[in-house]
Symmetry: C2
Subunit: 295 residues, 2 copies
C-alpha cells in the first residue's frame, strides 16, 4: 500500500552520465580538448581510497581524464599545497578535488582555499557559497550533493517555485547549500537543525523535504504532509543480522512509513547517492567548457 512514486537516482544518474559522455566526445571532436579531474588523497584511510577509486572509475566511464596524487599520511601541508598549485597551473586539469578528511595535522581551510576558484568543482569555496547566497550573482560551481537533490526534483518535473520547503540539517556541504538552492528557485525555505524545537511541526508543513542529518530513520511518516516530496540524503549504517556484512544502509527518513504518505521519495541507497558523482562529472565538464569557451 505504498503510494509514493520512487525517485530513481540511479537511473537519473545514468542518464546524466550518458549526456556527459556525449558532450565530452563532442568537445574532443570539435576542439580537441578532454576535460580533466585531479584528485588529491592524503593518507590511507580505506573509505577515502574507495571514494577516490569510484570517482576515477566514473571519470573513465564518461571519457574524462583523471589525475591522482597520493601522498603519505605524514606529508606536510606544504607538500599538499605544492600539488594543488601544480594542478592549478595545469591547463589539462579543469577540476581539483581534495579528498576529506585530511590528516589532523593539516589546516583544512588553508588547503581548500588554495584550490583555484575556477577549478573548485566541489563548490565549497566561500566565494562560491557567497555567490550562491546572493541574488544576481552566479556561483562558478554548485556543491555536488545539493545540486543532485535539485536535479532530481527537476528531472521528475516537481515544481519548486512558491512551494514550502524544509531542509533538515545545515552543514556546509549539504544542508546549507541545499537551502540556498531551493530559495534561489523561489521556494519558501525553513531550515531545521539540532537546536530546533518540535521539528515535526515545521516539517509537516513542507511540500518538499530535504533531509541531510545523519540520523537513521529520524523523520517518521507522521511528520510528513500527505503528498509531500521527500529527498533523503542520509546514509546511515544500522545493524542487520540478516545482511552478510552485519549492517545495512538506511536514510534519515523512515522509508517504510514515508512511502505511504509522500507523493514521491528517494530510496536509500539508489536515491541521492549516485547523483553526487554524476554532478561532480557535470561540474568538471562545465569547467572545461568554460575554460575553453565551448558551448
Amino acid at each position: 500500500e505504498s503510494s509514493a512514486k520512487v525517485i530513481d537516482g540511479k537511473a537519473v544518474a545514468e542518464q546524466i552520465r550518458d549526456e556527459i559522455t556525449a558532450e565530452v566526445s563532442r568537445m574532443k571532436d570539435e576542439i580537441g580538448v578532454v576535460p580533466g579531474l585531479a584528485v588529491i588523497l592524503v593518507g590511507d584511510r580505506k573509505d577515502s581510497a574507495t571514494y577516490v577509486r569510484n570517482k576515477k572509475k566514473a571519470c573513465d566511464s564518461v571519457g574524462i581524464t583523471s589525475f591522482e596524487a597520493r601522498l603519505p599520511e605524514d606529508s606536510s601541508e606544504h607538500e599538499v599545497l605544492k600539488f594543488i598549485s601544480g594542478y592549478n597551473d595545469d591547463p589539462s586539469v579543469h577540476g581539483i578535488l581534495v579528498q576529506l578528511p585530511l590528516p589532523s595535522h593539516m589546516n583544512e581551510q588553508n588547503i581548500l582555499n588554495a584550490v583555484s576558484i575556477e577549478k573548485d568543482v566541489d563548490g565549497f569555496h566561500p566565494l562560491n557559497i557567497g555567490r550562491l547566497a546572493m541574488r544576481g550573482r552566479d556561483p562558478l560551481f554548485v556543491p555536488c550533493t545539493p545540486k543532485g537533490c535539485i536535479e532530481l526534483l527537476h528531472r521528475y518535473g516537481i515544481d519548486i517555485k512558491g512551494k514550502r520547503a524544509v531542509v533538515i540539517g545545515r552543514s556546509n556541504i549539504v544542508g546549507m547549500p541545499a537551502a540556498l538552492l531551493l530559495q534561489s528557485e523561489d521556494a519558501t525555505v525553513s531550515i531545521v537543525h539540532s537546536r530546533t524545537k518540535n521539528p515535526e511541526n515545521i516539517i509537516k508543513q513542507a511540500d518538499i523535504i530535504i533531509a541531510a542529518v545523519g540520523q537513521a530513520n529520524m523523520v517518521r511518516g507522521s511528520w510528513i504532509k500527505p503528498g509531500a516530496v521527500v529527498i533523503d540524503v542520509g546514509i546511515n549504517p544500522v545493524e542487520d543480522a540478516k545482511s552478510r556484512r552485519g549492517y545495512r544502509l538506511v536514510g534519515d527518513v523512515c522509508y517504510e512509513e514515508a512511502c505511504k504518505v509522500a507523493s514521491a521519495i528517494t530510496p536509500v541507497p539508489g536515491g541521492v547517492g549516485p547523483m553526487t558523482i554524476a554532478m561532480l562529472l557535470s561540474n568538471t565538464l562545465s569547467s572545461a567548457k568554460r575554460a575553453h569557451n565551448f558551448q
Copy 2:
C-alpha cells in the same frame, strides 16, 4: 492599550557610539592610530549626498577620520576604480564605502569587487557573505543593517537560540544576511519573499520577526503571534496631509496594530535606522583594530 516594549534604536545607537568614541580614543592614546573611513560618491543625487553627509558627521562625532571622494556623474568606471585602489593602498583608511546607486553606465559588481576584502566595511563582498553562511568560517565584516537588527535583540536581552524566526525579504543587503545571522545564533529560520503563498501563516509562527520588504504596513497585527518580537527594517513614505512635508515614514509592519500583540517592537523612525550607521562605525573600528592587531 499598547503592551509591547518599545525597542529604542536611537538610544542604543547613541550608547554604541559612546562606546566607539571611548575605544577610538583609547586606540589613539595607546598606539597613535586613528581609524579612517573613506566614502566614494559618484554623481549628485540629493539623497546619496545626504547619506554621505550623515556618515561623515557620524565619523566626526566618534573621532573616526573621514575621507571623501566626489566624482562627477559622467566619470568613467576606470576613474572610480583608481580611487578605490588608492584607498585600498592607504594605511590610514580602514574602511571603504561606495555610495550606491552608481550611475547606470557603471558595472556595480566590478566596482564593489575592487574594494579590498579587509576594508569592505559594508560586508557585501561575496567572500564575506560566503563566510557568513558557512559554519566555522567567520566573515571579516557583517553587513550593517542586519548586524544592527541582531545587536538590538542582544542589547534587549532577547534570546535567539532555539527560537522560531521569520525574515520577510531576502535582499543581499538586509533580508538574506539577517537570516544567516539568526541561523548562526541557532534560531530556526524561515524566509518569506514575494513568491511566498499565505505569508501570514508562516509569520504567525515566529517568535522573532525581521521585516525588510519595503511595503508600508504590510504585516498586520493579526499576522503576529502574541508575545513575538518585531524588528521593522522598512522605511516607507506614505502621504500625510498633516505633515509639513506632505508625507511621513512608516515601517513594513503596521505599528498601531502590532504594538498590541508583540512583546517588543522597533518604531519607525527611531528603530533600526540609527543602528545602521552605528554598525558602520563599529565595523570601521574593528577593521582598524584588526589591521593594527590592537585588542
